[in-house]
């Protein structure tokens, strides 16, 4: 069992600046930058509560400086925990040194020992370790070279690095070094694997390849994974659950599909999904008991299931979000049609990404090639008029002030983009 529980975890970096800034602002604990600065210092992570199940692959994702690596380092024991509790396998780990937490870590820069061969890099932790001595109760012993060799060869075979065992890290490519770093982690069979942006130093092609390898590896290796990345594609493809962070706070925790379909706030909605969700300033109105959203000079009646959720929400300004895949082309005179002008289009093969301007606002649409008339398969010409409509059952509404989602529980329908060029 390797359940990891983080209870109200907080990390403060002491700073002399903290006190000076607070006195300058005059308010107590007031946010002066994205990260909270208090008397004690800069708060990098706060109110971090999560229970990671045994053998779960959890991904911490967010922009740079959001606290994801700090959280990972607190789990590893490389950073002190300012406040809160960390449990691994039911045991409190706050004051336990890293070597006694039964964890393994893969660093962004691989952190291989440059003076050792690949074999020695992988064997190093096994040589430092002591195991219970079967013959003598209560006593421990070091692993024999034969036992170490068996474990190293097993891990090397899983990762396909047996032919590199006698080489030093400087004689390896980036991808090979990354495999060795992963091999060094799995050879110990730890309870928890911690990975701090392990693929970020690789080129795009190798990154895709290694991502697939990590998915396969996960099936072969027994353990709980905590993976940190800033790349939402990695988060969506690898994680059983994703933890989206911003400015030291958790924004949302959920499966990839949950965070994609039901983002809890504007930040999550804009962070997850490529291309990014389109946002429009809108207004929620009620007319003769019917819930209406006024957007892009139109009043669009809200579907019944959405209206039910919006019953308790007061009228007023809102932000409407619509994913590029949920926008359909239509004729200019179709109901609820919005007309814009094409800026740029990108032919992606199975789809076309069209960037258009509507009332000075940029809108991105992802249109399936199958749904577009043949004459537009090359590209949409810059400057041409384009009419589209929202698939309103896939629309997201957010409070304009707080950014929180106003609707969250409905089932989204797949997008339907109509062919253009039809009268």
């Amino acid at each position: 069992m390797a359940e990891v529980v983080l209870k109200d975890l907080k990390k403060i970096y002491p700073s002399q600046d903290g006190k000076r800034r607070k006195h300058q602002k005059g308010a107590s604990g007031e946010k002066t930058t994205n990260l909270q600065i208090t008397d004690e210092g800069v708060v990098a992570v706060q109110q971090f509560n999560i229970e990671i199940k045994d053998k779960e692959f959890i991904v911490l994702v967010g922009p740079s400086g959001c606290g994801k690596s700090t959280t990972l380092r607190m789990i590893a024991g490389l950073e002190d925990i300012s406040c809160g509790e960390l449990y691994i396998d039911g045991k409190l780990m706050n004051d336990v040194p890293p070597k006694d937490r039964d964890i393994a870590m893969v660093f962004q820069s691989y952190a291989l020992y440059p003076h050792m061969t690949v074999y020695d890099n992988m064997a190093f932790s096994l040589r430092m370790r002591k195991v219970p001595d079967e013959g003598k109760e209560g006593r421990t012993r070091k692993l024999t070279e034969m036992e170490i060799n068996e474990k190293v060869m097993q891990a090397a075979e899983i990762l396909g690095i047996t032919e590199y065992l006698s080489r030093k890290p400087k004689a390896l490519s980036g991808g090979q070094r990354q495999r060795v770093a992963i091999g060094r982690a799995i050879v110990r069979s730890p309870k928890v694997f911690l990975m701090d942006e392990p693929l970020s130093n690789l080129d795009a092609k190798l990154r895709n390849q290694m991502r697939a390898e990590l998915i396969k590896l996960r099936e072969r290796v027994d353990g709980t994974f905590v993976y940190v990345t800033h790349d939402q594609t990695e988060a969506m493809t690898l994680g059983d659950r994703i933890v989206i962070m911003k400015d030291g706070f958790i924004q949302q925790v959920g499966t990839p599909q949950e965070v994609f379909d039901h983002p809890t706030n504007l930040f999550v909605a804009g962070f997850i999904g490529v291309p990014q969700m389109n946002f429009f300033d809108a207004e929620l109105k009620r007319r003769d008991g019917v819930c209406v959203v006024a957007v892009a000079k139109m009043d669009i009646a809200v579907p019944a299931d959405m209206a039910e959720e919006l019953r308790a929400v007061p009228t007023g300004p809102v932000t409407l979000g619509i994913r590029p895949e949920h926008i359909s082309l239509c004729d200019a005179d179709a109901p609820n049609a919005i007309t814009g002008r094409v800026d740029v289009s990108e032919m992606m093969g199975s789809s076309v990404h069209v960037h258009a301007t509507v009332d000075g606002k940029d809108v991105v649409m992802v249109l399936r090639t199958l749904d577009i008339a043949e004459e537009f398969h090359g590209s949409f010409k810059s400057g041409m008029d384009i009419s589209f409509t929202f698939n309103f059952s896939s629309v997201h509404l957010f409070d304009r002030q707080t950014g929180k989602a106003l609707i969250g529980n409905r089932i989204l329908e797949p997008s339907k983009s109509g062919p253009i060029g039809k009268s």
């Binding site: 890293p98 962004q108 952190a111 003076h115």
Partner: protein, 287 residues
Amino acid sequence: MIASHGTRLREKHKKMAMTLAFAVICLIYIMPVALVLLNSFKANAYVNTETFKLPTSESFVGFRNYIKGMTFGNYPFLKAAFYSFVITVASSALVLLCTSMAAWYISRVGSAFCKMVYYLCVFSMVVPFQMVMFTLAKTADTLNLNTPWTIPVIYLGFGAGLSVFMFCGFVKSIPVEIEEAAMIDGCNPLQTFFKVVLPIMKPTYISVGILEVMWIWNDYLLPYLVLDRTKYMTIPILIQYLKGSYGTVDLGATMALILLTILPVIIVYIFCQKYIIKGVAAGAVKG
């Protein structure tokens, strides 16, 4: 085309002039050592009168000066060489071990205290030995540091400045993730240092070690002031005592012993010069 030919010619003349200038500077540097070498094969009388001439059939005495230097007086040359060797090796080892560990701590902890210690070490390089030599001699006497077995402690104090400076420069270039990986792999801080950090710092150890060896082996003043000369002498001190009756000095034998003293250092430098240059440059750039 004419312009580029002219430019090439000017570049050629410039290179020739630079080569000539540096050749002259090299000769000026090598001259003292060459003079010592030449005069070590001359009879005493000719060292004074024909200092700058090559040995002739009259002046050349072969290795007689070397044998005389090594056997002259009451104090055996080999004993002095032994003490020089012991002091050099022990002091260098102590300096390397202690200053590398100190530099690692200073670079990684980075507290205000560490910064103060670092600047004190740098400042100690500025303080001339002559300012502290009298009080040092007295203190060494009081604390019984006046033997070849205990003088390494004093060399540690004087050698720490430059060594800490050079090691700090190199430690900063070692990614801290390597040490964090070692901590996760099961190392305590001492194991992290000896199993991971020290092997990575090998080039710097060689560079600093060579500089320390060169300094301590050739040092005259500190052993002269601190050691009990009735019992302990190093080679540089022994050379000074090459006095005959009526206080005359056999210059030929003196030159021979000087050459014997500097020969090991020259040999070490020839084989290890790339590490010296690398180490000094690394310390200068990163420190």
